[in-house]
């Protein structure tokens, strides 16, 4: 049977809250990047970073909306002759849910692909071709769930490695925080791959993801604080 939800019932809603936190953090970083792009329009990487993080935020929004419609099970009352039945029903058909999950996967992978292209700069690989492959594999694959998390895992591994190399080069605390945060987000994908074995993997994945995005928020705060205090620190 086609399965859309892997969360245990007691975790319904809590996972949505974790995803809302992820959206807020991603949008904050995207907004900051756009703000700096306006200051320095020659460096297009600010714009690409903003687009990538916005796509990832949009992806979580699709996931939240889709999961919310699944979790939103309403009580309906129907009368059959002299018997009145109260039963739970899902209001939506499968199609919007499938589209919702497809959009979640495609936007997340496009965001990660953009980050990958920004940092790795692979030669002779067109963004359009890679985007097309992502779209096709997300829609037509029988194992779309695994395809998605494995592809995300590969992209995230490469991006995390890039951030780690950057930290090794610069040795700055904010670079370390960024690398660790992305490492946690990468680890969450590993747990997502195993959710079919046990629903607790889903809970673990969501909690690791929350820690990763909390780390990203701390990174952003550290960056802004360091910029603010930079001059004072040097004067001392």
């Amino acid at each position: 049977m086609f399965r859309l939800v892997y969360s245990p019932t007691w975790f319904y809603g809590k996972d949505l809250l974790i995803d809302v936190v992820s959206v807020v953090v991603l949008l904050l970083i995207a907004f900051t990047s756009v703000k700096y792009y306006k200051l320095n329009k020659r460096n297009k990487n600010y714009l690409y970073l903003a687009i990538a993080f916005t796509l990832m935020a949009a992806s979580f929004l699709f996931k939240i909306l889709t999961n919310f419609s699944i979790y939103y099970i309403v009580l309906e009352t129907k009368t059959f002759g002299f018997i009145t039945l109260v039963y739970k029903s899902v209001r939506y058909s499968n199609l919007p849910l499938i589209i919702g999950f497809l959009m979640y996967r495609v936007t997340m992978l496009l965001g990660l692909l953009l980050l990958y292209k920004m940092y790795v700069k692979p030669e002779n690989t067109s963004f359009a071709i890679l985007a097309y492959l992502i779209l096709v594999s997300s829609y037509f694959s029988r194992h779309a769930y695994y395809m998605f998390h494995l592809t995300a895992l590969i992209f995230l591994c490469i991006i995390t490695f890039h951030y780690w190399k950057n930290y090794k080069r610069l040795r700055k605390p904010s670079n370390k925080w960024l690398a660790y945060s992305f490492a946690l987000i990468t680890l969450s994908q590993v747990f997502f791959v195993f959710v079919r074995i046990n629903e607790l993997f889903y809970v673990t994945a969501e909690l690791v993801q929350l820690t990763g995005y909390a780390g990203l928020l701390i990174t952003l705060i550290k960056v802004l604080k360091k910029g603010k205090n930079g001059e004072k620190a040097r004067k001392k």
Partner: protein, 90 residues
């Protein structure tokens, strides 16, 4: 090899140099501190003055460049931008 300084790097170096010097600096010292040629400094200084980030005063036969509040705020913004750029490897 060290990368070439961008426009924003040069402006930040100039504003930092003035702030380091207590908010005011002589043009020759600024030229030396920000590592600029005379021609470059003239061009950048004109732009900074146009945007009201700095202004010139004459005291005891010496010319000084003073950073404004707007200039201090702009320097802070640029420092944050550079920190963001380094962290995310942009």
């Amino acid at each position: 090899m060290a990368r070439k300084r961008e426009r924003s790097d040069i402006i930040l170096d100039m504003l930092n140099a003035i702030q380091h010097n207590g908010g005011m600096i002589k043009p020759t010292r600024l030229m030396y501190k920000a590592n600029l040629s005379h021609q470059q400094m003239k061009l950048y200084l004109e732009e900074l003055m146009q945007k009201r980030l700095v202004y010139k005063v004459r005291e005891d036969n010496h010319e000084y460049i003073i950073i404004t509040d707007l200039g201090c705020k702009f320097a802070e913004k640029l420092r944050q931008m550079k920190e963001f750029e380094k962290t995310f490897g942009l």
